[in-house]
């Protein structure tokens, strides 16, 4: 049973990772616990679903519709809800994010109805197994997409000019402007990428579970947050690592300890890791110079 549980855990972990990557990226740039991320993920799933069912589009265009739709929502939020509060204390930004999350959940409920909607089956889901590990086509796609995103995003943030502009904006927005950086554009761009990643995760997870519903982002967002923190919030490979740790520990915990305490196990691991390493596994602690 152990190998099987381990594959369960990795499959689940890659879903967490996928969601956490977009979350952690936005955090890395804006220093915002983006409580809305889970709901952007939900919006992505619904946009794609609308494309598939109402507009009758094929898979890829629907997928893109989901990502584009969610990016637009993300950028609108950045422009109208977040930018106006950048200058206020950070907690205000946090509250704006919470407000936006509540809003989006209920907005989706008003527009698409509160019930769970089924996702049509689009990809033939075969099961593969090697050395006792088992995985389905979709699981492999999710894992593959996560790894690819980690690599691409790390490259962008670390080695490109745009990435440097993003880091500057996060550290000191005014000084960034004085360097000639169009900080608004950087912020919007960040949200655009972050949201489309969130949406991609939402669509994939929607396809994986064959379901989409307005509250689907709530738990996903929280799990993304935990994964990101375990790995070191703001650190992109860390999000991947954190997601996998969460997935595996949940699966093994549910199997060998108790399914009722499954979510608690993830949090206990989180707290334990933070006590040993207060900034997460891959996070670096920046001490303030006095």
């Amino acid at each position: 049973m152990f190998m099987e549980q381990l594959s369960n855990g990795i499959a689940l972990g890659s879903i967490y990772a996928l969601t956490a990557i977009g979350f952690t990226m936005v955090y890395g740039i804006i220093r915002l616990i983006n409580f809305v991320h889970g709901d952007i993920y939900m919006m992505g799933a619904f946009f794609a679903l609308t494309g598939l069912t109402v507009l009758g589009l094929p898979l890829i265009p629907s997928f893109l519709l989901g990502m584009i739709g969610a990016s637009i929502v993300g950028v609108l939020l950045a422009k109208f809800a977040y930018s106006p509060v950048f200058k206020a204390p950070r907690i205000n930004l946090l509250l704006c994010a919470i407000g936006a999350a509540i809003f989006l959940e209920n907005f989706a409920m008003l527009v698409w109805g509160p019930e769970t909607q089924s996702f049509p089956t689009l990809i033939e889901n075969k099961t593969y197994s090697i050395f006792g590990f088992k995985a389905t086509t979709l699981q492999l796609i999710i894992l593959g997409v996560s790894i690819a995103l980690v690599l691409i995003l790390t490259y962008i943030v670390k080695y490109t000019k745009l990435g440097r502009a993003m880091r500057c904006t996060s550290q000191d927005m005014e000084a960034a402007k004085l360097m000639g950086i169009n900080t608004n554009r950087v912020v919007y761009f960040t949200f655009m990428i972050g949201s489309s990643l969130g949406a991609a995760a939402g669509v994939l997870v929607g396809m994986y579970y064959k379901a989409a519903y307005p509250m689907m982002g709530f738990t996903a967002g929280l799990k993304a947050f935990v994964s990101a923190v375990i790995g070191g919030i703001g650190n992109i490979p860390g999000a991947m690592l954190g997601g996998l740790i969460m997935g595996v520990s949940e699966s093994l915990g549910a199997a060998y300890i108790s399914s009722g305490y499954r979510d608690a196990i993830a949090f206990i691991i989180l707290i334990f890791i933070l006590l040993v390493k207060p900034s997460g596994i891959l996070g670096k602690s920046v001490k303030e110079k006095v």
């Binding site: 220093r31 950070r90 407000g99 989180l270 900034s279």
Partner: protein
């Protein structure tokens, strides 16, 4: 999808109305703040007595409107809760999003003691506070060296773990079924069994919370706390033992949340893990921030407004929370400092702006507050 345009129309309309309303209210709050900071001690006392009198006769006026009474009681309950978080977030600057855990502990301790052991509420109440405080201590000691967002997620985690324990430890808590049948409190044979009596009970608890908050804030410990909140390094260099104060604030905050929980249990006569989920913590957090972090009158106002608004919106059931979300965002944009902020009460709008002078440094700002 078909109703998209109608939904959008309604929401845009709501946003526009709220925007105007908050703008006007914001002016009003400025005025009030300026007025409060300008009046002398004597007038202040006079006004305080006036407010106290009004609050005291309020339930008698509305004695025949149980819905008003009930809502007032809930408002008072949330004032205790919001003030308790204010000690942690407002005074010590520690971002805790798991505050409902302590609320839950208070409620469950009271439920268990009064239902299973028939212990009087008057013993259960302080016991609840004590046990909640103990948990605050247990959580605070290891976690308070974590900063900002890391502390936030840890407190969320603690809240969730506790909720799962309440759900899974069915032998003790009856799990998701909750504990029904919590009796009315009785003191010297006097039974608290009407809304009116409950009102005065919670009013006393509110008064006590306000009293402790004020005295704490204006003592050496309060100054130490605010110093730690503003700049921990400088505070330590001034001889202030920051960990001790942070834990103290955490423990006190937990104790008052426990008191609120205890009252909740006897008032609703039923506790259930769902009462104490993460959204509950978020709600309390919103009250503190909307009211004005650290400001006691502000937090009281925040708790009041955020309890009444969802009640007022109950009739538009499906739009209720969408509008609530918009309200939060608009408040943060139009009035980031909160309704009655600490700074505005100190010296009006002038210091408010210059107080931001240091904070405006990009997004990195202060970690906690």
């Amino acid at each position: 999808m078909a109703n998209l345009s109608r939904v959008l129309f309604n929401l845009v309309l709501a946003t526009a109305i709220l925007f105007g309303l908050i703008k006007i209210l914001s002016k009003a709050f400025d005025f009030v703040a300026r007025y409060i900071s300008s009046i002398d001690k004597k007038t202040k006392r006079f006004i305080n007595i006036g407010i106290a009198l009004m609050v005291a006769i309020w339930p008698i006026v509305f004695i025949n409107q149980p819905y008003v009474l009930r809502t007032s009681i809930i408002v008072l309950l949330y004032i205790v809760l919001a003030l308790s978080l204010n000690i942690v977030l407002g005074f010590a600057g520690q971002l805790s999003i798991g505050h409902s855990a302590f609320y839950a502990i208070g409620a469950y301790v009271t439920a268990l003691l009064t239902v299973n052991f028939q212990i009087s509420f008057w013993i259960a109440l302080p016991t609840s506070a004590l046990i909640a405080a103990l948990f605050g201590l247990l959580l605070g000691i290891p976690t308070l060296r974590l900063k900002g967002d890391y502390l936030a997620i840890t407190t969320i985690g603690f809240g969730e773990i506790l909720r799962l324990v309440l759900i899974n430890w069915t032998n003790l808590t009856r799990g998701p079924a909750g504990i029904p049948g919590i009796p009315f409190p009785k003191i010297f044979g006097f039974m608290i069994n009407t809304n009116l009596r409950y009102y005065y009970l919670i009013l006393v608890l509110v008064m006590f919370t306000i009293f402790v908050s004020y005295r704490l804030l204006n003592s050496r410990l309060g100054r130490g706390l605010i110093a730690v909140r503003d700049d921990e390094i400088a505070a330590e260099a001034m001889g202030i033992k920051s960990t001790y104060l942070k834990i103290l604030a955490f423990v006190l905050g937990a104790a008052f949340a426990g008191i609120a929980g205890s009252f909740f249990a006897t008032y609703i006569h039923y506790v259930n893990p769902d009462n104490f989920n993460y959204m509950e913590s978020v709600l309390i957090l919103c009250m503190v921030v909307l009211g004005g972090v650290g400001s006691i009158p502000g937090v009281i106002l925040g708790a009041t407004v955020l309890t009444i608004i969802p009640e007022a919106l109950r009739d538009i059931a499906t739009y209720r929370y969408a509008i609530y979300g918009i309200l939060l965002i608009l408040m943060m944009i139009i009035r980031p400092q909160g309704m009655l902020s600490m700074a505005s009460l100190k010296g009006g709008a002038k210091s408010e702006n210059s107080g931001n002078k240091k904070r405006n440094k990009g997004l990195r700002g202060l970690s906690g507050s």
